[in-house]
Symmetry: C2
Amino acid sequence: MTAPKLHRSLIQNMEMFRALSDDELDRTLEHAQPRRLLPGDAVYRQGELAGYFFILLHGTLKVVQATAEGEQVVVRFVSPGDVFGIARMMRRPDYPATVLAVQESLVLAWPSSEWERMVAANPQLTGNALQTVGQRLQSAHSRIRELSTEEVEQRVARAILRLLDQSGRTSDEGRIEIDFPITRQDIAEMTGTTLHTVSRILSLWKERGIVENARKRVIVLQPDELIRYAEGAQGSRHPEPA
Amino acid sequence: MTAPKLHRSLIQNMEMFRALSDDELDRTLEHAQPRRLLPGDAVYRQGELAGYFFILLHGTLKVVQATAEGEQVVVRFVSPGDVFGIARMMRRPDYPATVLAVQESLVLAWPSSEWERMVAANPQLTGNALQTVGQRLQSAHSRIRELSTEEVEQRVARAILRLLDQSGRTSDEGRIEIDFPITRQDIAEMTGTTLHTVSRILSLWKERGIVENARKRVIVLQPDELIRYAEGAQGSRHPEPA
DNA sequence: CGTGAATTTGACTTTCCTCAAATGGTGTGG
DNA sequence: CCACACCATTTGAGGAAAGTCAAATTCACG
């Protein structure tokens, strides 16, 4: 009774496993379990013991942290190829956040204990993990800088540009769309504002022909204009007097 | 002509070098250069090539990031025993921030290239670094959560409590003081507000007997009250009607 | 179709920033 | 040792940005 075969092509191009030999990739996959998720399903929840770590193969996930008062903050969205749930690699016993599927998704799960074996066989894995965490620290500091010094419109522009960069799908005539369902509330939780303010900003941008809005979708018509806002152009919320 | 001897007791109790043998500690120290800093001196500046990494032996440093518009954000304060400047360990070529002495300080500097040798001899070092960076990521996320969901007074309370925890000096009768010079501007740059607002908040707290203020100093008389504010008690900025 | 979630929009309020000015403390050079 | 210059801090007044509260509207899905 063998588990269904997972071919190494699934993971061989992933950042974290770069430079692993074919043999080692195969050995690694022997301990991986695939899990399918439907929209809204949780991979794990904040506070649980970090028994597994994961790679996303397909779909999109949302990492959220809840505050003591029950509000939420979106930490990041996970794209295919990303590792997540690596608390134990940092010697943390529990998961610091909850991970939810926003689309149908497919992940590979490894028992956290497997990490030790993998590292023993492949010392540069720790270095890869360190690089990954270092990049996340970087982008967390960027967010802190933005939340500290920029206004809401600017932060929303940045957030959308970042999402386009990470998961943008180009359709006809330069229209770029965020390739997964995302609500105004989500954007608010990424930028430290309210869904009302996000809605107002998107409405304004629509009037100016910069975006098109739909339910759980954002379509950008003029990315260059968005870049201008992100870099601090005054949105001049109040139309100037004639 | 030998370099001045550095004894291993200087670094043997430090988180990053835990579990290194005495021999290895000695070997490590052979490549370390001590540097003395006066208040205001920079250890390195944002954007420089990350040629060295460091441990702080004595004093206090401030890590700051400048925005494109010239504003500043305080990333963290460095206390004795902390490692910093570890960009290269994360495979980043340059320093992402500037580090300034806020007091007379003493650091040990290693050429970044030394890291390779040390890791080769002591594989668990990478794990230690991963843990350290993981903790910083954690606390960056806490800050994002706070900036996104809390009001200024609450954030200032938290910032001060964190500083007390990190560098509090207890004097007589439960008075705790932040053990290095810190300005209202610094606190503002830690919490995403202005020095004016920080000043107003501290003045209010003084009226209520929670703190005592002096130039470049914060003395806390009632830490428990501060904890209440940090956890969301309404400061009720406007005194209630009689 | 109807039901509920997502979104939009308006009116009002609050928080906090900006601008301005005065005050207070420190260390330094004469 | 004192005076002055500079930095840090305080405080006030006014205004702007964004939150809150409330309600209507739209849309997708069952």
